[in-house]
């Protein structure tokens, strides 16, 4: 059993690397085909050995090189350095698909069907109809895969073995889903709203990726039908031409290549709702419930749990005694907002409040910083732990669950003072 989790991908060239038993875990590296075989980091060293062997920097069309976890369906995550910025650039934003038939959906041929047994007046519209028919809004929000950091689960669990980068923060522009639903007329018996996208499985027998939200979340003023990301049209790999944006909730609900919205009077009973994306009941401090999908033992994953990521210093970075150490990172939660981030410069014995950066909105990454002077020679573990305005704090030990969701254990990075 490891006693520590290392989240950070080392990207600082020439970082100190010693044996994996010490404070400086060996840093996994893989050759990068795009740079002539030069050594590049593949992910945190606590990822499964097999994951590290097959993870490379690869370049999807329209993207910068990202860490490839699987080729088909494409699952690519952002390297640590991307999170030096509070807003994630579109070409650096992670890519996650369940199914491998992913059509390119042209904006001018796109059509959205809105209906369902609990909608009074089904209708369809095109992109111009969506953009002109409703008030436009823009907000910053974190999209994080439910299984971000799954690869760091202890013990390991099956799935896409993500490191730290299956997440991003963008400014999303679109219209409110509730305005679109109002046009369709939501009947009083409406229970859930289901969303389908244009991607499909290779086999007919593979369940299509369709997800539903409880009607109250669908009607939340922040839930958007969006076509723009950071002022640009959505990249293909992030759901062009139109996707759902569900601020505060994990990425599984943010349907890409959105083609259909169905208002339902009955719970959606499919593999992707009833079996996948579920967490044990009562294990996590979440407040948003999805009652129509709950069973005795489990519940669909809903909101994100409070978390943070240290972006500086980098794992294994060296400092001289007395040298200023700048600690930086990002924190986020379910949209209650970040109340405090505390930093420990002594392995968790004492904690001091970090300074929070500019607030881009309660659904956004929140930057934080803290400075200290490097002490005597030796190895030091720097930690960060965020607390939300809801009052939840990152745990010091992983909350294990069989699917590897919600890994929000405190961030740690080991440095060397020499």
């Amino acid at each position: 059993m490891r006693t520590r989790r290392q989240f950070l991908v080392d990207l600082a060239g020439g970082a100190a690397v010693v044996g994996s038993g010490g404070l400086f875990p060996s840093l996994a590296r893989a050759s990068d085909p795009s740079s002539g075989g030069a050594s590049i980091p593949a992910g945190p060293s606590d990822l499964p050995a097999g994951t590290l062997e097959v993870s490379f920097l690869e370049t999807l069309p329209g993207k910068r090189p990202l860490i490839k976890r699987s080729y088909r369906p494409p699952n690519y995550e952002s390297p640590l350095e991307v999170f030096d910025q509070l807003v994630t650039p579109n070409d650096a934003f992670f890519v996650r698909y369940h199914l491998a038939r992913i059509p390119e959906v042209p904006a001018d041929g796109w059509k959205l069907e809105v209906g369902g047994d609990a909608a009074e007046k089904p209708f369809s519209l095109d992109l111009a109809g969506l953009q002109k028919g409703f008030e436009q809004v823009e907000l910053a929000a974190v999209c994080q895969c439910s299984g971000n950091r799954r690869g760091l689960s202890d013990p390991h669990v099956a799935g896409v073995e993500w490191g730290i980068g299956a997440m991003g923060n963008a400014r999303w522009k679109g219209v409110r889903l509730r305005d679109v639903l109002a046009k369709a007329g939501v009947k009083k018996e409406a229970l859930e709203v289901a969303f389908n996208g244009a991607d499909q499985g290779v086999l007919e027998a593979t369940p299509d990726f369709v997800k539903s939200l409880p009607v109250w979340k669908a009607l939340d003023e922040n839930t958007l039908v969006a076509w723009q990301m950071n002022g640009e049209p959505l990249p293909h790999w992030n759901g062009a031409p139109v996707r759902l944006v569900v601020p505060g909730w994990t990425g599984t609900y943010w349907m890409k290549h959105l083609t259909s919205i169905q208002v339902l009077s009955q719970p959606l009973k499919t593999f992707w709702m009833s079996t996948a994306y579920r967490i044990p009941k009562g294990k996590f401090p979440v407040v948003d419930r999805f009652l129509s999908q709950e069973s005795e033992a489990s519940t669909p994953i809903t909101e994100m749990v409070v978390s943070s990521l240290l972006t500086a210093p980098r794992m294994g970075q060296r400092f001289r005694p007395g040298q200023a150490v700048e600690v930086k990172g990002i924190a986020w939660d379910n949209g209650s907002g970040i109340r405090t981030v505390e930093v420990s410069a002594d392995g968790g014995r004492s904690w001091q409040a970090a300074t929070l950066d500019q607030d881009l909105g309660r659904f956004s990454f929140r930057g934080f910083r803290y400075g200290f002077k490097a002490g005597a020679k030796g190895e030091v573990t720097v930690l960060a732990r965020a607390t939300s305005r809801m009052g939840t704090t990152q745990p010091s030990e992983l909350i294990f669950n069989p699917a590897g969701y919600h890994n929000n254990v405190v961030s740690r990075v080991a440095i060397r003072i020499a």
Partner: protein, 92 residues
């Protein structure tokens, strides 16, 4: 001339990622595994999920692919596939 070649190289988009960069280990039933599994996903899914699954863990994964995702499998094939996975990508 060199400059021209460099320009052409710069202008051409990078080749899309080639999933064949990751190939499963040689061993009995490898072709069956590739045939059944790689229809829906690239081969790298298997080494990515290694070496932490034991035989029971691989059995559960293959069973999920059949029951939940509809992977077609003839009688007897599942056992061969699990054998290959446990032998080549199983927890030792």
């Amino acid at each position: 001339m060199t400059a021209l070649v460099a320009l052409v190289l710069l202008a051409s988009p990078p080749a899309p990622p080639d999933e064949n960069r990751v190939q499963l280990k040689e061993g009995p039933s490898r072709d069956l595994v590739v045939g059944r599994c790689a229809a829906c996903h690239s081969q790298d899914y298997i080494p990515m999920n290694s070496p932490f699954l034991d035989r029971k863990g691989w059995e559960a994964e293959v069973s999920k692919m059949v029951k939940a995702y509809g992977a077609p499998m003839e009688p007897g094939e599942m056992e061969q596939i699990v054998d290959y996975l446990a032998t080549n990508y199983g927890r030792k």
